[in-house]
Structure formats: structure tokens, C-alpha cells
Symmetry: C2
Subunit: 272 residues, 2 copies
């Protein structure tokens, strides 16, 4: 069926616990989940793996490790132990893609040095992830998140980092919200080719209702998502498509209704 590539990221229905999400996906006949470490740890990693198997739900990606610059919205600096724990969790629940969020600008405001720290941090994590069979996905975030979350802000820049490593170990995560504005997007997707190991979709709402939570259900905003999906596919990506939405009204709605709406519009608003 046309929604066989549909994956729901846990944050889209964040009111639900891990168990509630997995049961709901089975109920809605959605085969993929984009997981976050927090809810999985809360439920218990081994239990989570069992629950997923029992409901025939696969994990398209895990969010997240990273913050290699030592700057992140929760404070606390680079946490190598947490990053390795995220790798272990990813492998334990049968997933093989772990998102990396680079981290924001260092306190000394040295953007170039912050970017070097990201490449160094990834290099340090790669052997551990590789031995666990987990591929790291470098995700460029939208430039509006450069200060606090990610000094990696374009696909080309993410590729410059990822290409230092074996493609079996380090790939690229493409999220429509983060990259749609990029004048060099199509050549960069082409350049990425099989390096693209995860694809997330959501729309850009106009106006943005919040500096961080301005994402909408595909079809509700300014992004021509079907064109991007075609470009991602044409470059060689054939995997699941995760719907990941940060939006206070989506979070306030009944999560079952949100899943119904996403499923009903997926073919037209995402695949095109």
C-alpha cells in the first residue's frame, strides 16, 4: 500500500509513552517508528525491543547523539557516555540509524572552531558505533538553530563532514523543514546519493507560530514536499519516510486523530 514507507516520529505524538506509540502504530497499521532515547529508556530498552517485535514495528531511526561542541539547549557540555549509550540503545532495539545533532556555537563564539569540534567528535564516536553496527546520520539543522543546536546547517556542509568516513558508518539525514530553502539543495541531494540514510518530512508553517515549534503536517505549509521526496528518491534513497512534527497544536490534538490525518494525506502531500 502507498503508506508502506510511512514512519511516525515519537515527537509527533509526544503525549504518548513509548508503549502507547507502539500499540497505536500497530492499530493504525503503520510499520515504522522514529524513536527517541528518552521514552525508550523510560520504558526499558530490552522491553522496548520485545514490544516492537511483538507489534511488528521497526525503528527507522533513533534521535539522538551529538552536541560535540559542548553547547546544547540543556547545558552540560559534551557527554561522551550518553552518546555511547545512544549507540547501544539503537542497536538493542534493532535500529541501525542514529541521528547526530552537532551542537551550537561555543561560548567563545568561534564558529569555525565549533565546526571543527563537530568533525572531531564524530571521528571519536565512529569506531564505537561501527562496532555496534549503527550508522551515524549527520543532520544539518535549519540555520535558525545554528546558535544553540547545530553549527551544521546545510547538506553540503554535512556531506563535507560525512565524506571523511566510510559510508557504511556515517551517512546523512535529510529533513524537509531544515533544508528546503537551500539554493543548492538539488545538487547536494544528488551529491549525497546513497549517503542519505534517513528522510524526515514536515511542512513550514506560514507564519511560524513559534521560534522552534513551527512545523506542520505535510500539506499545511510552504514546502513543495513531493518534489523533495522525488529528488531524495532519485538520488537513491528507498527507505522509510518519517513524519516528525514539533508543533504545539499538533501536540494538543488527539494523537489518534493526528495519525489518521497524516496517513490520509501521506500519498498526496509527501509522495506526490
Amino acid at each position: 500500500m502507498s503508506t508502506e514507507r510511512l514512519s511516525i516520529n515519537q515527537i509527533t505524538v509526544k503525549r504518548w509513552s513509548f508503549e502507547e506509540v507502539v500499540r497505536a502504530l500497530a492499530r493504525h497499521r503503520i510499520g515504522w517508528l522514529g524513536a527517541w532515547t528518552g521514552p525508550v529508556e523510560e520504558y526499558g530498552v530490552e522491553r522496548a525491543a520485545r514490544l516492537l517485535r511483538d507489534h511488528d514495528v521497526r525503528v527507522s531511526s533513533v534521535c539522538r547523539a551529538g552536541f560535540f561542541t559542548g553547547t546544547n539547549p540543556d547545558g552540560g557540555g559534551l557527554d561522551r557516555e550518553a552518546n555511547r549509550r545512544a549507540v547501544d540503545l539503537t542497536a538493542a532495539i534493532g535500529a541501525d540509524v542514529l541521528y547526530l545533532v552537532a551542537g551550537g556555537v561555543r561560548d567563545d563564539l568561534d564558529l569555525a572552531a565549533s565546526r571543527h569540534a563537530v568533525a572531531d567528535g564524530i571521528a571519536e564516536l565512529v569506531p564505537y558505533a561501527a562496532s555496534a553496527g549503527v550508522r551515524l546520520a549527520v543532520e544539518p539543522l535549519h540555520p535558525m538553530m545554528c546558535a544553540e543546536r547545530s553549527v551544521i546547517v546545510t547538506l553540503d556542509q554535512a556531506l563535507d563532514v560525512a565524506e571523511r568516513f566510510d559510508p557504511a558508518h556515517v551517512g546523512l539525514a535529510v529533513d524537509t523543514y531544515n533544508v528546503w530553502w537551500d539554493p543548492n539543495l538539488l545538487p547536494a541531494l544528488d551529491r549525497a546519493g546513497a549517503r542519505t540514510i534517513s528522510y524526515q518530512v514536515c511542512d513550514w508553517l506560514v507564519p511560524q507560530p513559534h521560534p522552534l515549534f513551527g512545523r506542520g503536517i505535510p500539506g499545511d505549509g510552504a514546502i513543495d514536499i513531493p518534489s523533495l521526496t522525488r529528488a531524495v528518491d532519485a538520488a537513491g534513497y528507498t527507505g522509510p519516510i518519517e513524519v516528525e512534527i514539533f508543533n504545539e497544536s499538533v501536540w494538543a490534538a488527539n494523537p489518534d486523530d493526528v495519525l489518521v490525518r497524516i496517513t490520509a494525506t501521506f500519498t498526496q502531500s509527501v509522495l506526490g
Copy 2:
């Protein structure tokens, strides 16, 4: 003195009328104003020109013409007449730089076509501006404004457009808030060289207090502004440096206090 390049954009003290701003700049010994068409028209263009002369205040730039895609936050489509009026106003008040804001994504969400419309719109306006002695400044806005305000979002992209025209007629506007995150910023500034005909500064506040009004006084945020100023200067720009701030707390403050603070911190936080 070290603030001789300082220009204050009218929006920074938007509570003031045009007359109040000009008188205040003279009082604070600030020699440059970044003007907006609205307040000038309200005061009267010829009167404005006289007032500026009488107070020895020069206009570093005028904001704005453009919206060539037909999409702008105020609605109404492409207004060729308003664009020509902005050219006339710029010349009449003795300025020679008119900012262009490209316009957002067209209703059909075709980003590539929207970008073509910008190049076409500029081509149409250039002869009129050139004959008035006004240089058009293509301004890349931050990618967060791509949907509603400007499909031109990087310096390289702005240059790709500007370079189609005689540098005497079409240049580039660099605003720290809009471009600081760009991984290709330094090569692009170098490429721009003397095409850079206006330079605006403000800081990126962390966190952003508002989706549009998150700009701070230089020194209050995440941007290493002195480094950017040095790069802009090294590429050949020697003109005024406009402080342009969209921020509700700055607007709520006493405008005289705002000018005192900007002047006091200019050398350290902008020139470096």
C-alpha cells in the same frame, strides 16, 4: 572618531517619527541614518531632504523596494509603482542605496520559479533606478524568512543575481543576522568584493524571543560581529555600518538610551 561609520536604522528606534530620529541623531553626533520609505513619505520627501541637510545627517540606505515574487507579508502582489516611488524617494533624499527584498515563495510553492521571478523583477527595475542614480542592493534574508519575505537566502545566491548587472547599478547588502550562519560566508564576502554596498549589523539573541524580532544590540548574542566586519572591510567595503534591530524590548526602551548604548559599544562589539 571611532563611531564615524555608525549609522542608525530607523527601525531600531521605530517609536520615533522621521523628524525625531533626525534630530536625535544630530544630538547624539551620529552622522548616518538608515531610512524607511514609510516615515519619509509621512513627513514629506522634500521636507525630509531639507531636514537631513539642516542636521548634517546622511542617508546610508533606504528600505525598501522588491517583493518581485508577488508574495509579501502585507499581501497585494508585485507593486511596480511602489518600487519606482522608492527609487525616486531614495534619490530625492540624497541617498544612493535602495534595499531590495526579494519576496517569498509563490502561492504554487514553486521555489525555483519564485527565484526566477526575482531576477526578472530586478532586471525590469534596473534601468529606472540607474537613470535616477540609485544603486539597488540585493539583500539575502535569513533562510527562516524564505517562505514569506525572501527566496534569496544566501550571499552566493544574491551574487548570482547581482552579477547579471553592472556593479554601478546592482550591489549586495550584507546583514550579520541574515548571513552569519553560512558555511560559505567568508569566500562569498570575498567574491562579493566591491559589490557589497551596504553593511548592517545586529546580534542573534539566544534564545530567539520571537520568530521575527529576535535581533539584539551587537554584543548581546551569538555572532562574532567584529570578525564579520573585518571580513567585509577586507573585501573592500569602507562605507557606513548600520545598526538595524527588530526587537520588542529594544523598541520598548527609551530610544535615547538605546542610542547611547549602541554608540558606547560600537567600537568593541562591531569594529572589534
